[in-house]
């Protein structure tokens, strides 16, 4: 069961084959499938730029002000980077290996809590170990990876939907544990999770301050801040923006790492497991070991994302790790298309821009245009609507309930995607389990490659961006 096509029935994929014949971008002379760094980078850049321009124009025209608009764009980039990181890590589980992990919040919590306990000052309450932040980040990453290892080994053979429930249960166990009063201070020691109040520790984004103290970087930063203030952008926005730049470096690192993995023999085993685990196993691949390694690595990356995201607050508490976080990342991945790293990055960014920050941006615009004097309850809103003032209802929904609107949009997007486009924006790019372009070589790939399943070969045609291959699409089969 677990080997079944994760994105839906193979019929639709086969049916899409003729539709995908547009001979777009790159021309690949070699038969070996290689990552398409340049065209993918261009695609990401195009999406990001278009979004920036769109938000800037709408923001300035609607009178939200330059500072608020740039602030929103900064937030979009920050959360875009965070969700891209999360989606990339999840892509290793779900997109490549087909492991349905919805316990992301739990692994982030383990990473962030480990960081905070390691970094918090020894005489705080609860106390920490006062270690430097980089050490804390490494520890957090390792802890999350170990937790993933412990979870996955016994649950390897559990069916995909059961695995989903196990991971969700695990993330709730983590959250309830750190929330529990009995673990606030473990035993008689001063160390603990802080219970519902959480832990206070030096935030990870203090790296910005450290960067400003460095010779060249600091000077450039100082100039930027001065420039920003002349056009009316607050220095806090720019400082946050510099931390976002650090995050973007992590996105690049994740992307390179995961794309390397995806195109390695190990990555092909993972994709083979996704397509048909039994077939991969019967070809002599150690699927169990590959799954364990992939899961632990993905969890470690999720822990790292947790440290970079929640660790950038001065204070973390169990409420930061509600299961909703998991679904943010999941939607980001599904929007982009599971199985494609470029899709994960674009999905993370698009999710952050239009679903996560979108409603808040609308809220900013409403505040700039209609003020903040809106009824605080639905009762008041409908009462004023009855009295002939529709702006009260608009303000109530878009201003007072902006967070609820965000979740509704999130839910609706998820539903519509699953009905209309279960493969996501770049889902057609889902990489196959073969190391070579099967459509070029004909049906017989060179021996020993984990080329699996007949519907996989059907999928191959749709994956190929190669015009030559499309001409050869009428293979004798």
């Amino acid at each position: 069961m677990s080997g079944a096509d994760p994105d839906g029935d193979p019929e639709t994929e086969t049916a899409e084959v003729p539709g995908d014949e547009e001979p777009d971008d790159s021309e690949e002379p070699s038969a070996v499938i290689r990552p398409e760094w340049r065209s993918d980078l261009l695609l990401v850049a195009k999406v990001v730029l278009a979004t920036y321009v769109g938000f800037f124009v709408v923001g300035v025209l609607s009178g939200a002000g330059v500072n608020a608009t740039v602030g929103t764009i900064q937030s979009i980039t920050f959360f875009g980077a965070i969700f891209a990181l999360g989606a990339l890590a999840l892509n290793l589980h779900w997109g490549y290996t087909g492991m349905f992990n919805i316990g992301i919040a739990g692994f982030m919590a383990i990473g962030a809590y480990t960081l905070s306990i390691a970094v918090a000052s020894p005489d705080g309450s609860p106390a920490g170990f006062g270690l430097p932040i980089p050490v804390g980040i490494v520890l957090g990453t390792i802890a999350a990876g170990l937790a993933g290892l412990v979870l996955v080994i016994p649950t390897l053979r559990v069916r995909a939907d059961y695995f989903a429930i196990v991971t969700l249960g695990f993330s709730e166990i983590v959250r309830l544990s750190v929330q529990s009063r009995s673990l606030r201070e473990i035993g008689d020691t001063a160390y603990g999770t802080g219970g519902g109040q959480g832990i206070r520790a030096t935030p990870v984004d203090s790296v910005v301050g450290w960067l400003f103290d460095q010779p060249i970087v600091g000077d450039v930063g100082g100039v930027l801040i001065v420039l920003g203030e002349t056009v009316g952008i607050a220095s806090s926005v720019l400082e946050r923006g510099i931390y976002t730049l650090v995050l973007i470096l992590f996105v690049v690192a994740f992307y390179v790492l995961l794309t390397r993995i995806a195109h390695s023999p190990f990555g092909r085993v993972l994709k083979a497991i996704r397509e048909d685990e039994l077939a991969a196993k019967s070809l002599g691949k150690r699927t169990d070991r590959a799954k364990i390694a992939a899961f632990a690595l993905g969890c470690a990356l999720m822990g790292l994302v947790g440290t970079l995201w929640m660790g950038s607050r001065t204070h973390i508490s169990p409420d930061n790790f509600m299961p909703l976080i998991t679904f943010y990342v999941f939607v980001a991945l599904i929007v982009g298309g599971a199985g494609s790293n470029t899709g994960s990055v674009i999905g993370g960014f698009a999710f952050a821009a239009f679903i996560f920050e979108g409603p808040r941006f609308v809220r900013t615009m409403v505040r700039a245009n209609l003020g903040t004097d809106f009824p605080r309850t639905a009762h008041g809103a409908f009462a004023e609507l009855g009295a002939g003032d529709p702006s009260a209802l608009i303000g109530y929904v878009l201003y007072q309930q902006a967070d609820e609107v965000r979740y509704i949009v999130l839910g609706v997007v998820l539903i519509v995607l699953m009905i209309k486009r279960p493969d996501g924006l770049l889902g057609h790019r889902k990489e196959i389990a073969a190391g070579v372009d099967l459509s070029r070589r004909g049906p017989v790939a060179d021996g020993g490659r984990p080329a699996v399943g007949s519907d996989d070969r059907a999928g191959t045609e749709s994956e190929t961006d190669d015009p030559a291959a499309t001409n050869g699409g009428d293979r004798d089969e």
């Binding site: 079944a4 096509d5 994760p6 994105d7 839906g8 029935d9 349905f100 016994p154 649950t155 559990v158 069916r159 995909a160 939907d161 059961y162 989903a164 429930i165 196990v166 969700l168 249960g169 695990f170 709730e172 166990i173 309830l176 544990s177 929330q179 529990s180 009063r181 009995s182 909703l324 679904f327 999941f330 599904i334 309850t377 639905a378 009762h379 008041g380 409908f382 009462a383 929904v397 309930q401 609820e404 609107v405 979740y407 509704i408 999130l410 839910g411 609706v412 997007v413 998820l414 539903i415 699953m418 009905i419 279960p422």
Partner: protein
């Protein structure tokens, strides 16, 4: 058996035994550990009772609370189990049907309780302003206004059914042939959208809907209670009645037979001429109706509720369904009993804010050891 036949036979047998003992599978090891754990806990319980460290009365109270909890978990779990076996996906929006029942049912109960005295908006939204009434002022208890409570109960079931059918038409019907995972993801979307649409109207704050529960002090001596909470009793009576009714429906009506057939083998049911869409309609109606009633009754028992009531319950419901074997309704009942007792009796050993962890851990362990559940995956029979 024939151990003493030949020397060779014995040594082969010994080898076999040794092999089984020396390399038991991971699952067997886990199962052994769980059984050992349960035995140790049971012995410890006996010790505590014998040494007087824990009074019998406290254990009985935990057990009774466990039974009550297991009843509303069971009401919700039945629906989840049915959608699992007939529509073949893990419905993550089931918890939010519980929420829908709680909000819609109590809104109707308040509307009836305060009709003509307070404005409709104030009643339906549970007094959004300070001027509105409280549950106590409206007399929201089974003795003071039984009609309002009863109508609210029926409304909770009907409105939740309506919502579930609308969702089915809008979402799930378009995905009848999609894989279980696609449906699961869509159901997460439904859960979020539904919960926060409720949130837009009722806000995310916590509400208090009922008057304090009437207590019976005069109890016949043969009952093991000192006092009886009438709201709790209403919950128990309603839930038991509905469960018995469902049992009769499944076993003795044509619809029940069709549902069991479809749970068993969808394609075969189709060929046999069972109207699948009608069975799906019945599945949603029964499942959502029971979920709505569960939400309504939880609020009757607890008084306080917010839009997260169903979501927080969802994992417990899943735990119950998994324990009983996904798709088996009677299994879901057994699973609910185990989960209800676990979250309460575990209080003997662990603090109250860790009891759900015990339930979730149990769920994960069962999934690892016996993925088919305690009753061995008998589907809806």
């Amino acid at each position: 058996m024939g151990v003493g036949n030949t020397g060779k036979g014995v040594s082969e047998l010994a080898d076999e035994v040794r092999e089984r003992l020396s390399s038991p599978s991971g699952q067997e090891l886990f199962a052994l550990l769980i059984v050992l754990g349960i035995v140790v806990l049971a012995l410890d319980l006996v010790r505590r009772l014998a040494t007087g460290e824990m009074a019998f009365g406290r254990l009985w109270r935990y057990t009774w609370n466990g039974l009550v909890d297991s009843l509303y978990i069971a009401l919700a779990a039945i629906g989840l189990s049915m959608t699992y076996s007939i529509l073949r996906f893990a419905n993550f929006s089931h918890g939010d049907l519980v929420t829908t029942g709680a909000f819609s049912g109590w809104a109707v109960a308040w509307l009836i309780g305060g009709w003509g005295v307070y404005g409709v908006g104030e009643l339906v939204l549970f007094s959004p302003t300070a001027a509105g009434p409280t549950g106590g002022e409206l007399g929201m208890s089974v003795l003071a206004s039984p009609v309002a409570i009863l109508v609210g109960l029926v409304a909770a079931a009907l409105l939740t059914i309506g919502v579930a059918l609308a969702i089915d038409r809008l979402v799930y019907r378009r995905m009848r042939d999609a894989s279980g995972i696609s449906l699961l993801i869509a159901s997460v979307g439904v859960a979020l959208a539904l919960r926060y649409i409720i949130g837009v109207f009722w806000t995310v704050e916590s509400h208090s809907a009922t008057a304090s529960a009437p207590i019976l002090e005069e109890i016949p001596a043969w009952l093991p209670f000192e006092r009886l909470n009438l709201h709790e009793l209403t919950l128990v009576a309603t839930a038991v009645g509905l469960i018995v009714g469902l049992h009769l429906l499944l076993q003795y009506t044509k619809l029940g037979k069709a549902m069991r057939a479809m749970a068993d083998n969808k394609d075969l049911a189709l060929i046999t001429g069972i109207p699948t869409e009608r069975v799906i309609f019945a599945t949603w109606s029964i499942g959502a109706g029971l979920a709505g009633v569960a939400g309504y009754l939880i609020v009757l028992d607890r008084g306080q509720f917010s839009i997260n009531i169903g979501w927080f319950l969802l994992l417990l419901i899943f735990a119950a369904v998994i324990l009983g074997g996904i798709g088996s309704i009677y299994g879901a009942l057994v699973g609910s009993l185990v989960i209800g007792l676990t979250i309460n009796v575990s209080l003997v050993w662990i603090p109250a804010d860790l009891n759900e962890i015990a339930a979730f851990t149990l769920m994960i362990l069962i999934l690892i050891v016996k993925p088919d559940g305690l009753l061995g995956g008998v589907e809806t029979a």
